[in-house]
Amino acid sequence: MTVSGREARAGWLFLLPWVIGFLAFTAGPMLFSLWLSLTHYDMLKPPAFVGLENYREALADERVGTAMWNTVFFTALHVPSQIVLALGLASLLRRAGRGSGFFRTILYLPVMTPPVALAAMFLLLLNGQHGAVNGFLGWFGFQGPNWTTDPAWIKPGLVVMGLWTVGSTAVLYLAALTRVPVERYEAARLDGASPWRQFWHVTLPGISGTVYFTVVVNTIASLQVFTEAYAMFFGARAKQSAEGDAALFYVIHLFQEAFGSLRMGYASALAWGLFAVIAVITAVQVRLSRRYVHYEGDRS
């Protein structure tokens, strides 16, 4: 056996636990759910093959349309607001000097709040009648909306709540900002570039790889939004959100079909539908990244 062959074998042996885990806990369940999506299965009787019936039903299901619209709308609000705020905070942190470590910790702490506790807290903070957020707005003469009960404001309210965990993205941006060479700013300043032009032509290209990564990851996470919305609007006993369908996100609908109606086959079809949507959106993002994302040492 050659040296490289032995190394390859050792490499695979080291990888074996992960490979086994991947096959048993990711690839296996995915393939099983693909099979289930072609069946009727209520967990108590064996699956019965029905071909593409579940997919046809999903296309005709009015709640799927509502849930998908809610999810895409939320994503379109949530991802840009996360990125803009995280970038702003990271820029401030970079200027924090010796206090940077302290502020970085403070900024990251909320990320560790359990999502259900977060949802319970924001139900109080965002209460339209006596919540702290509207109390704060009231100081400036604004009468805040009913964030948690008015269908028009539920998704913006959830976006506001989502900003609580902006620290994880901000920390990534801070790391990226520190890697942008100082000489480029010096050169830009010598050329008379304003702070805005420096940001646009030096900072943004310099951190575009990180921005791209966070856009992709946050988009996928937003399209799978579930825990906070479920805890806030559906709860343990509620069969249905009391705010109509405004908080019915795609994964919540999927969950209700699976564990409320015991339609594992249909829910599996819904899951593969979401997988397809995420795959298409991610593919578009990858394609766009070739034009807008720059990496150090990239000659293209």
Binding site: K239, E243, G244, D245
Partner: protein, 438 residues
């Protein structure tokens, strides 16, 4: 070197897997329950009765609220608990799906007199002629009226009625307090969508059962009536946001603070009020239908034995003991004594067992002059045998979701009552067809 490498790669995952296998403890000889907790003497004293009578049984109460997903997954995996404690209205669906066993043989062998259970409670656990559960607690729905608020509006609390639907709007307007987009007081809370079955029944319509339709004009009228009451009190968004601020289980509840004038409510809330705000001045009267007849809906839990339970005979003995009359009396006595030690009144225990209630309220009941209990308990007792209950349905969860979703869409202005209930009917038909076809 290679040998050591191989050892590490193979042994570590093996240890991990072996470790995972050791997390659970063997429960093959234990009698295991699901969905039941031990929060007070009603639970602990009854469990003690069973343990005393069956000292050799390793009873394991897995505390926590009933979780449908957990339960059905356990049944599907062939590893169910021996007993499950769940809402009665869900049992029909589980019976239809074969997730719980018939208790007919159990009842026969233990000589259980089913006649001692209240009719509405027993109907909820009876599916296609077979009994699938034994009823536990039993609550009914009644009106709780805030006297000071209603009197301040120049009205007589005792005369406040839910029968005159045409007049309820004006009544609500007199009792509410809404200004500048802010709700300061709810005049009348119809408690929809949760109480829609009661309102529909008040208008002569059923939501579940042969011939029942969610788009029945009488159901649509009930939806319109109740959602209109909400709309005239600031609209759903403000109404619910205000209601969410109630300290419902505290001393500063909505009756004490004057945030609410009147609402229909479950009877268990009387005990909450009596404990937390014994001086709250309230009137407790039955809910009435449009013809002025007394009407109430019954609800509660039941014990059942899942399909594939390892110890069905022991499980049968357990649920018979837990719902037996002497056991209930023992628990009620223990509860009363514990409350007495804290200087608190005992408002009685409302069960699905008529015989037990007669003894509890005849021998154990100790209101200690609490005015809420003194007024409320006789009303509850008078309603228990007049109650209706949602009948069992194999698609109960889906049906409830369909009509609650429909009412919510009307409340937020997404649909008219006709459109919403028509959609709910379509969803209900699909759900029933699925279950029937499978």
């Amino acid at each position: 070197m290679r040998g050591r490498l191989l050892t590490v790669v193979l042994v570590v995952p093996a240890l991990v897997v072996a470790g995972c296998g050791g997390l659970g403890s063997d429960t093959s000889d234990a009698l295991v329950t699901m969905g039941f907790g031990l929060p007070d003497e009603h639970a602990t004293a009854r469990v003690a009765v069973f343990r005393e009578a069956n000292p050799g049984v390793d009873l394991r109460i897995t505390e926590g609220a009933f979780d449908e997903q957990q339960f059905l997954s356990a049944v599907a995996a062939g590893d169910p608990p021996d007993l499950v404690y769940a809402e009665r209205r869900k049992l029909g669906g589980y019976a239809a799906r074969g997730a719980v066993q018939s208790l007919d043989a159990c009842v026969r062998e233990h000589g259980v007199d089913l006649g001692r259970f209240r009719d509405a409670a027993l109907r909820q656990v009876t599916y296609q002629g077979g009994v699938y559960g034994l009823p536990e607690f039993s609550s009914v729905r009644l009106m709780i009226i805030n006297n000071p608020v209603v009197r301040a509006a120049g009205l007589d609390p005792a005369a406040l009625s839910t029968s005159d639907w045409a007049g309820m709007g004006a009544l609500t307007d007199r009792l509410k307090e809404v200004g500048d987009g802010r709700v300061e007081r709810i005049g009348f809370d119809p408690k929809v969508p949760e109480f829609l079955p009661l309102w529909a029944k008040a208008n002569g319509a059923e939501l579940i059962g042969p011939g029942a339709r969610l788009d029945d004009p009488r159901v649509v009228e009930a939806v319109r009536h109740t959602t209109d009451l909400v709309a005239r009190q600031g609209g759903w968004a403000s109404f619910k946001a205000f209601r969410d601020t109630f300290d419902q289980f505290g001393a500063n509840n909505q009756y004490v603070t004057g945030q609410l004038a009147a609402m229909p409510m479950d009877s268990w809330y009387l005990n909450t009020l009596a404990t937390n705000s014994p001086d709250a001045d309230v009137t407790i009267v039955p809910f009435t239908d449009r013809d002025g007849r007394v009407l109430t809906e019954s609800g509660g839990q039941a014990w059942a034995i899942p399909k594939g339970a390892r110890h069905p005979e022991l499980a049968c003995r357990f649920l018979v003991t837990m719902t037996d009359t002497p056991t209930w009396v023992t628990a009620a006595t223990a509860r009363r004594d514990a409350l007495a030690k804290a200087g608190r009144p005992y408002g009685g225990t409302f069960t699905g067992n008529r015989e037990a209630d007669e003894r509890i309220f005849g021998e154990v009941f100790d209101p200690r002059g609490n005015p809420i209990l003194a007024k409320g308990v006789p009303v509850v007792l008078s309603l228990q045998d007049k109650a209706f209950a949602l009948p069992p349905s194999p698609a109960a969860s889906e049906l409830v979701r369909a009509w609650e979703g429909a009412v919510n869409r009307v409340l937020v202005g997404q649909q008219s009552p006709e459109e919403a209930m028509a959609q709910a009917q379509r969803e209900a038909e699909r759900a029933l067809k699925r279950v029937g076809g499978r």
